[in-house]
């Protein structure tokens, strides 16, 4: 890992500690500025393996609605966000759709499914 020196704003609780992370060994990073252990864990994760839930819409046909809202079932690596958006944007879905239905399974090998966040009837 390259030498890093970053400030992370912790979002675990409303305090919002500004946590400084530095070092070059992911096993032995220096973490300061946190008021609790959760902050330390959050900062570590943000540096080594930041993940996010991706939420967007996908084209929908045969419904009274043009777009179906979707989300990843679990958080995916931050760097996968835009590559996943490309895949999602090329996807077409047909109604009916059941809430929780898997639209894309294991999207780009992230281990996350892309699931529907609402049900839609066929028209």
């Amino acid at each position: 890992m390259k030498e890093i020196q970053r400030e992370i704003v912790c979002i675990v609780c409303p305090t919002g500690c500004r946590i400084q992370v530095s070092g070059d060994d992911p096993q032995a990073l220096t973490i300061t500025g946190n008021e609790c252990k959760r902050g330390e864990e959050y900062a570590l994760k943000e540096i080594t393996d930041p993940r996010r839930t991706l939420i967007t819409t996908v084209r929908l046909h045969h419904a009274g609605l043009r777009r179906l809202p979707v989300r990843t079932s679990i958080e995916i690596p931050k760097r996968s966000i835009f590559p996943c958006m490309e895949v999602i944007n090329r996807t077409e879905v047909e109604a009916p759709v059941e809430i929780g239905q898997v639209i894309i399974s294991d999207i780009l090998g992230t281990g996350a499914d892309l699931i529907a966040t609402r049900s839609v009837a066929r028209v």
């Binding site: 819409t57 084209r59 046909h61 043009r66 777009r67 999602i88 944007n89 090329r90 077409e92």
Partner: protein
């Protein structure tokens, strides 16, 4: 070949076109913009003045006094709302009393009936929210309020129903009469006419200059306004003017015919006739000046501000005459205040001018001066509402929550002659977007309805002019585009 081409589809041009459509004439109505009433007509105080303000002997005075009484019948025929609420020119100190008295005298000279100077006690009873400093006022019972663009829209529709051909997006670039008739040239096409009527507002001098040497100059004077929520509408009962100065009638406060409160305008000479922006310091000035009229104006209820341009003539009076240099070319220029009031009288006079030029006019047997009645759904009694909904369920869908406008009314406005094709076009004709949410709620629905009724993709719908696109495309670029019809 047209007999008459009217350049400019504001309140003047449309009323003239309507007047001419009564006769066996081929009439063309041209406008540079994507809709009628997109210039000064859409951005002024909407006041039908009594006629005491203009100097006696001027066209302004003459046509104001002739025009005012015509409004009841006109608005009835056009099926638009008009309200004679009366006006007050208020003196806020004894020094201003002389001005009020002078206006009174001028009103008498101009032939205005019913004017009275009322004193403090009566004034306070009529207007409890007027500033305490008010000492007296000139009361003119025949002053009224109207939404001026509604006049133009209705007049254009009637004109078109009676055979007038309307050319929008037709900015006149040149007029050539080397071959006899006028060849009116625009980028997109040409129109030929025997006569031309120049109602081009702030650009009238430019149009005139295409056929003759300049005989007048039009200066654009910008005026900025605040529009307040309907909850502020009953703050005052009349049109309230301050005493006029050299600059003009000054900042006024009035309710509008649909119940909002209108505050403004200021007056500012500008060079760029396309510049319609509002600015902070001018709006602040309007606000301060309005404070003289009442300290109770609830500026926290402002829903929007706008600006409009007055076409101020260098001659200081309306220019309504056939050009001596260019026979058959009639200027109707410099129509600043009291232009709106004068408009129906001007239309009749111009008709007479055209009659003179053409050696008489023959009336059409099937001329219909009336606009097909507009359904104002919420004004109907409940049984009528339900009857209408049974016939056309779209009247049961309220699209504009602020003004309670139904889908049926919106669809109707689209399919009339010279109907709405844009979001602002709907706003002008049926009011969604005029309310406190300023189109936030109804906007997406209006857009969808326009697209559906016009057979267009929603991304093709514009706000006002052709370049005022609203949507830039679909989400999920790089996919299969759906067809409009399947989705809407």
């Amino acid at each position: 070949m047209f007999d008459v081409a009217v350049v400019g589809a504001g309140v003047i041009g449309t009323l003239i076109a309507r007047e001419l459509s009564r006769y066996r004439l081929e009439v063309a109505l041209l406008d540079r913009s994507n809709d009628v009433a997109n210039g000064s007509t859409k951005a002024n105080s909407g006041i039908i003045h009594a006629g005491y303000d203009a100097d006696p002997g001027t066209n302004k005075a003459k046509f104001n006094v002739l025009g005012n009484p015509l409004f009841d019948e006109l608005c009835d025929q056009l099926d638009i709302q008009f309200n004679r609420i009366g006006s007050l020119v208020v003196a806020f100190n004894e020094g201003e009393r002389a001005t009020v008295e002078q206006l009174y005298g001028r009103g008498i000279s101009n032939g205005v009936a019913g004017l009275r100077i009322i004193e403090r006690e009566e004034l306070q009873a009529l207007e409890p929210n007027l500033d305490d400093a008010a000492v007296c006022a000139l009361h003119a019972p025949q002053a009224g309020i109207v939404d001026p663009w509604e006049i133009a829209v209705a007049a254009a529709e009637i004109a078109a129903e009676n055979g007038v051909e309307v050319f929008l997006n037709f900015p006149v670039e040149d007029i050539d009469r080397s071959a006899g008739p006028f060849r009116i040239i625009s980028q997109g096409g040409e129109v030929e006419a025997r006569c031309v009527i120049n109602c081009a507002g702030v650009f009238a001098d430019r149009i005139h200059g295409m056929v003759a040497a300049p005989s007048f100059e039009i200066t654009a004077r910008k005026g900025q306004y605040f529009v307040l929520d309907k909850s502020a509408g009953d703050l005052i009962n009349h049109v309230i003017f301050q005493c006029p100065t050299r600059e003009g009638k000054g900042v006024l406060v009035t309710r509008s015919v649909h119940g909002n409160l209108l505050v403004g305008p200021d007056a500012q000479v500008i060079d760029d006739k396309e510049n319609l922006s509002t600015n902070r310091d001018r709006l602040d000035y309007v606000r301060r000046s309005a404070g003289k009229i009442s300290k109770k104006i609830p500026f926290n209820e402002v829903i929007r501000s706008f600006s409009g341009l007055r076409a101020t003539p260098s001659t200081k009076d309306f220019v309504i005459e056939e050009s001596r240099q260019a026979r058959g070319f009639v200027d109707v220029a410099g129509i600043e205040s009291p232009g709106l009031t004068a408009a129906p009288a001007i239309a009749r006079h111009v008709r007479d001018l055209i009659s003179g030029i053409m050696g008489g006019l023959e009336e059409k047997k099937d001329f219909n001066p009336l606009r097909r009645k507009v359904i104002r759904f919420m004004d109907l009694p409940d049984e009528r509402k339900n009857e209408l909904i049974r016939k056309d369920p779209r009247y049961g869908r309220v699209v504009c929550r602020c003004e309670h406008i139904t889908e049926g009314e919106i669809v109707d406005a689209i399919h009339r002659k010279v109907g709405a094709r844009t979001v602002d076009g709907i706003k002008k004709r049926v009011r969604p977007g005029m309310g406190r949410c300023q189109g936030g709620f109804c906007g997406p629905q209006v857009l969808r309805i326009l697209a559906r009724e016009l057979g267009k993709n929603p991304t093709e719908i514009v706000k006002n002019e052709c370049d005022s696109y609203i949507l830039t495309g679909s989400t999920k670029y790089g996919g299969i585009e759906e067809q409009v019809h399947g989705q809407f």
